[in-house]
Amino acid sequence: MSVWLHIALWAAILFGGAWVFRWAGQQLPNPRPRPYFRDMSYAVAFGFLLAAAALYWTVQLYFVDRVVFFRWAVQGFLFFAAAGWAFRLLGRHVGTPGTRKLFRKMPLTAAFGILVILVYAVVAIFADVLAPFGQEQVFERVNVLPGGNPETGGDPRFLLGTDQIGRDLLSRLIYGAQNTVGIAFVTTCLAFLLGASLGFLAATLGGWLDQLLSRGVDVLMAIPSLIFALLLMTIASAWAGSEKWLLTVYMIVIIAVLDSTRVFRLSRAVGANIVVMDYIEAAKLRGETLTYLIFREILPNAYAPLLAEFGLRFCFVFLTIAALSFLGVGIQPPLADWGTMVRDLSQFINFAGVSPLTAALPLMAAGAIALLTVAVNFVVDWMLYQSSGLKD
């Protein structure tokens, strides 16, 4: 019952406080801010009070030891914001005039996104150098707790501890960047190669080929892609048998084909708008070949929407692969990957009250996935905003 009393008390403070706040503003001796408070609607005053209360709760929660996660989240948020800001500042003063101008107009979210993507790329490429151990290396000490402190069951050699069969979790987290991001990138490229070339072909040639491909894509898109991917993975796992790496290859092909349907739709629509242009007519009259038409005339003009689509498609593919791995049918062990790590470590979350760092392990792997997709989305959002010329 005291909880309800608490809530009622806060509501009374907020609702009453908003009115008092506005009234106090109207009584200010200085005439300058008075019109602002006079015209203020009650909702705005309430919003100010709510924001103040939210700030107060945040600060209060920040100093509660039991929810150390919240402190980490706030610290992480502030750190990333500062890093994005510093990166934008760097970009404004270093580089060619072109990039400097680009950075000058860039919002903070986009700068943050580009920074995160760069960091992921570096970690993925240099995983072999950065990781302290190999991803398949098994040590005799299993279930070492994270933290590196021997008194609390840690080991200074394994900063994040080891898993059930004794593999170093930090190394696996770093290799996860290589495997998960790398495989998602390859899949997206494959999907684009397939979808864009077929889409442009359908747009240029038209006729029965266009009809056939479009109707085929319609039917494929009528099945939710994660569901269809799971169905096909069942069959692929029967074909692959005990050869685990083959299953990963099948997964790449399956997801690439399923995702190429979306790329096909977009590139066909974009291509169809370009094909009717006069310069295409001129090129056709010159007697240029089909490959020239597609790669030298259509592709350069469809560049901007396709690039934005590439970012979004990458997010979808990345999330699909993570979901499949999380469900246990995606990237197969011994390859380290974030989705599988989340599933394997998920039980640790119940130790949050005892050992917060242990409980944070599954969240780290899941957060690594989330951070990259958020970053890519921020960048795509900014790119779309720029290319569309939207101002409000």
């Binding site: 269809f228 069959i235 996935i369």
Partner: protein, 332 residues
Amino acid sequence: MQSVARIIAQRLGLGLVTLFFVSVIIFAAVNMLPGDFAQAILGQGATPEAVEAIRRDLGLDKPPITRYFDWLGGVLQGDFGTSFAAANFRSFTGAETGSGLGSVAAQVAPRFENTLFLAGVTAAIAVPFSLILGVLAALFRNSIFDRAANIGTLTSISSPEFFLAYILILFLAVLNPMLPSLSNIYADMSFGERLERTLLPALTLTLVVTAHMMRMTRAAIINLLASPYIEMARLKGISPLRVIVKHALPNALAPIINVIALNLAYLITGVVVVEVVFVYPGIGQLFVDSVKIRDIPVVQACCLIFAAAYILLNLLADILSILSNPRLRHPK
């Protein structure tokens, strides 16, 4: 009204045709399995006689086209065939299970109900929530609130479902034990208890779908704010909230309804991962389990159900947007 009825009939027909092709694709995909079902059921060490018996039992000795129409005919009558796990059990015991436990339909039906319950709870929370948030974002556009809502929704839309799910578990189940982190639901549970167990997965799904709906509501309303009749309402001296709720919102309803229906369709895929995280006994959980043990008839049935629901909701979005926007009834 004549034309509306005709358009709806046309769309329904198109949906049925799509569903037919989808069933063909699912059947064809399943038939690409190496070997055949009988081998898959019994495993490596099966005697040829046993394989032959099962093959006859399941009708595998007939040609694929006959089998497809047998399967389709069964599905139309609510009979999705026999689960492998059950068929395997029967082949060992030799007993004819008359209880109907082995049929796929008996496995799927109660779980389908649970999933509908989850989706219903989610929709009941998410739709009003995102509408209110969207209207507020449009009302206070370009303010700090709008930016914060924009960044927040973009973050939640691009995080994987399991990340959101575990964060909710961490804060609402482990650190502050308010809700149960496992949603084991039984048939004879009271409604309140059932709701309590469903709340955490429903909240996760709400976070996933709210973003899209809220952004669409905001965009659809802001699109209209430049129109002359809104200008007129503003000049009359109506309050900004009233302008948006009474004048802009009804005209923005078509795209909003469309996006709500599409997001409910999206729920269908999101439900799979979320059900696995919370061990919710829904159809998504059954689907993933069957994928792992390769129980093909169940996988086939679940896939068909998911696809049918997806097509139906898309169809609904289509029809509702035609009904709410008369301009779409007369394509140029």
